[in-house]
Amino acid sequence: MTLTKVDNPTTEARSATTFSLGHAAIGLVVLVLAIAAVTTDAFLTQTNLTNLLKQMVTTGLLAYGMLVVILTGGIDLSVGSVVAFAGILTAGLSSGLPLPVAMLVGIASGVLFGLVNGTLVARFELAPFVVTLAALTTIRGLAFVYSDVPIAPEDESFFWLGSAMLGPIPLTTVIMLAVFLVGGVFLHRTPAGRSIVAIGGNAETVRLAGISVRKHVLLAYTISGFCAGLAGVILASRVGIAQPSVGVAFELDAIAACVIGGASLAGGKGSAAATLGGVLVLALINNLLNLYNVQSFWQQVLKGLIIIAVILVHRASRRRT
């Protein structure tokens, strides 16, 4: 019998392949959608593209925060409500305070909600689903308590953030991309980011390695809160009016973007770049269905089916390894 060596240098290459296959799935979908887009005249217009870029900002910011939480093995259902609260708070305060201060306070409210969620999950060891579900309704309620009618600031400068352009690209899109860039480096290159990923894989191993699970889980929810606060302020500024009812079900799009990007809801798996891909896919789907004048109920159905299809592609590409 021959004694062939088991150890084989191609294993390394293989894990690299697994990685790129996951991304290839997204690439493919983006490509198909892009081709479909070219087939309608309305897609490649300046107005439509600018709109597309602006519309993906909210989902994008929420999705990054959601990714960080999902990586720990948790979930943040409260982000849609935080969007509403941060927006209406900023709009309300902007009549009395300087605008930048009002905006910072809006974002800070998101951070605060994240801290509360994180504390309940990390410190009191409550289930993330339950905690953030409670937060979803509480924060929505608070938004209505603050103002049960929409607030439309008079001051022109309120709209600036949501409408400013950096050359051909909306400022808010640049902000979102910056969040993903910095956030990607955070997740993939810093000790805290790596700890968050490891916690989702096996929290007990991480705890016994001398890394505080609590602190990192708290950090994850705070980051999600920050992103939601920022998204709320930007959305209010873009629309020009803050509504306490805005953002219902936004958390679902955020979760969908993560999942399309290959993140595992069990935690420990997912990347910032792939999530951004997921955001792009969702935005393109929405945009195209609008351009093709698909009725909105059918839009929902199609979106659901497309999400399933993408996940199946993912699964298939993983199987092959």
Binding site: V6, N8, R14, R189, P191, S195, A209, G210, G268, T321
Partner: protein, 499 residues
């Protein structure tokens, strides 16, 4: 005509994504046989039995049962053929009770509903029958010690009265009377014409139990023999491809400077009155049967749990560890016994797993210093001979069990502790690597590290240590100098029969 054998594997090949790990393995077994499968870590033993169990599919080859060709495509298929497997890694549902785990899918019913009383009774009878009397059927599986979980796994495989029972390192976590019960069980199954396939790194066991011994190396069977014609030394030589001159290092002189001292340490329902001293440069063994409180004590020393009474002193000053972080900051390290539950992060690479303890210490400008990490981890991989040699970028779950264990060990060695607590560190580790681990622990001790070595392996607990403490029912029941002590003495303390 030749009588058909119960089980025949012919020229089995297996590749994972193009990398072949089994290169044409043959294995034949018949009713009433016990086939012992031995081989170094990563030799392909688990892969082979996973194929038999239908958990993996072979790339090429044949499987014949009673002479008919089959190819189990799923564990369910294998069950249909009467093949049951106890895997190397625990697979019980932690939130379900022992009864639920055992009888899942075959509960006794009364008027359409599950008859829980009958179910618990049935479980109790089953466990008693096979000699595992110390398990409470109503307990959640996740609450049981690793050893008890292992017993439940074995019981679960037996519920369906299999014709072929495959055990992948079942004894790694068992000791004393539990081990005796397992052996008696295997002999009984043998008499009942069951074919038992038994994988173990404890060669003495294999020599005692097996009717046929199969030696694997690098994905192939390199020898088939019977116990009467071989011995431990020869098996080791075959597996490792070389002679192992000396298993345990020569003893060193330990210092008399205490490194870690406990005073009256106790945790309710776990252990009490624990007064122990580990000296600098000493390797202190801790032996005890399942449930004696060894692992609980280790977790408490490490700050993973808090003591109810008593305290810990390091270098003469009392310490309270609120978290493992505090303990680590004070120079402690703990290699836990439950590799899957608290040793690895399965989907992260070997590099990230090994680097976990030093994650926050290896940074440059706030970012993880990848280059330093790579160098440090590769040095550990080489030093502990973790295979394959380029495994640093592989997810740690893809390593064989023994190699995963080495990765866990590497994680703590990288941290350079002053007090090293090892809970079953050689579980599932092959002989050649054990020798390497003993040597490394010895080197650490020579450099002044205090080591607490918890083990259910009697030979190891005497051979690799300077002094042995024996725990029984939560207390330290005895202390022995390892030099000159016998295994019987240690056992006697552990079951309360010491003279």
């Amino acid at each position: 005509m030749r009588r058909t054998k119960l089980l025949e594997l012919k020229a089995v090949h297996k590749a994972y994504a193009g990398v072949e790990v089994l290169h044409g393995v043959d294995l034949t077994g018949d009713r009433g046989e016990v086939i012992g499968v031995v081989g170094a870590n990563g030799a392909g033993k688990s892969t082979l039995i996973k194929i038999l169990a239908g958990a993996e599919t072979m790339t090429a080859g044949e499987l014949l049962i009673d002479g008919t060709q089959t190819r189990p495509g799923s564990p369910h298929d294998a069950h249909q053929h009467g093949i049951r497997t106890v895997y190397q890694e625990l697979t019980l549902a932690p939130e379900l009770t022992v009864t639920e785990n055992l009888l899942l899918g075959r509960f006794p019913r009364k008027r359409g509903l599950i008859d829980w009383r009958a179910a618990h009774e049935q479980t109790k009878t089953l466990l008693d029958d096979i000699g595992f009397t110390s398990i409470n059927p109503r307990q959640k599986a996740g609450r049981l010690s690793v050893a008890k979980q292992q017993m439940v796994e074995i019981a679960k495989a037996l519920v369906a009265k299999p014709r072929v029972l495959v055990l992948d390192e079942p004894s790694a976590v068992l000791a004393g009377s539990d081990l005796d019960a397992l052996f008696a069980l295997i002999r009984r199954l043998q008499q009942q014409d069951t074919l038992v396939i038994y994988i173990s790194h404890r060669l003495v066991e294999v020599l005692e139990l097996a009717t046929q011994i199969v030696v694997m190396k690098d994905g192939a069977v390199i020898a088939t023999t019977i116990p009467a014609q071989t011995d431990e030394d020869e098996l080791i030589r075959l597996m490792a491809g070389r002679r192992l001159e000396q298993i345990y290092p020569d003893r060193r002189a330990a210092t008399d400077q205490p490194a870690l001292v406990t005073k009256n340490l106790a945790r309710d329902n776990e252990f009490r009155d624990v007064d122990l001293t580990i000296h600098k440069g000493e390797i202190l063994g801790l032996f005890g049967l399942v449930g004696s409180g060894r692992t609980e004590l280790a977790h408490c020393l490490f700050g993973a749990t808090r003591p109810d009474h008593g305290w810990i002193e390091l270098g003469g000053t009392p310490h309270t560890f609120k978290t493992p972080q505090d303990a680590i900051a004070a120079g402690l390290a703990l290699v836990t016994e439950d590799r899957k539950g608290s040793g690895i992060v399965p989907d992260l690479t070997v590099r990230e797993n090994v680097a976990l303890t030093t994650l926050y210490a290896t940074t440059r400008g706030g970012l993880v210093d990848q280059k330093a990490q790579r160098t440090a981890v590769q040095a550990m991989v080489d030093r502990l001979d973790i295979r394959p040699a380029h495994c640093a970028t592989m997810p740690v779950v893809r390593l064989s069990g023994g190699n995963q264990q080495k990765a866990v060990l590497a994680k703590w060695l990288l941290k350079k502790p002053r007090v090293l607590i090892l809970d079953e560190p050689t579980r599932g580790v092959d002989m050649a690597t054990r020798v390497a681990i003993y040597r490394m622990v010895d080197e650490l001790a020579r450099s002044g590290v205090a080591v607490l070595l918890i083990s259910s392996d009697l030979t190891e607990v005497l051979g690799a240590t300077d002094r042995v403490l024996v725990m029984r029912e939560g207390r330290i029941a005895g202390e022995l100098r390892s030099e000159g002590a016998t295994e019987d003495q240690v056992l006697a303390y552990s079951i309360g029969r010491a003279a």
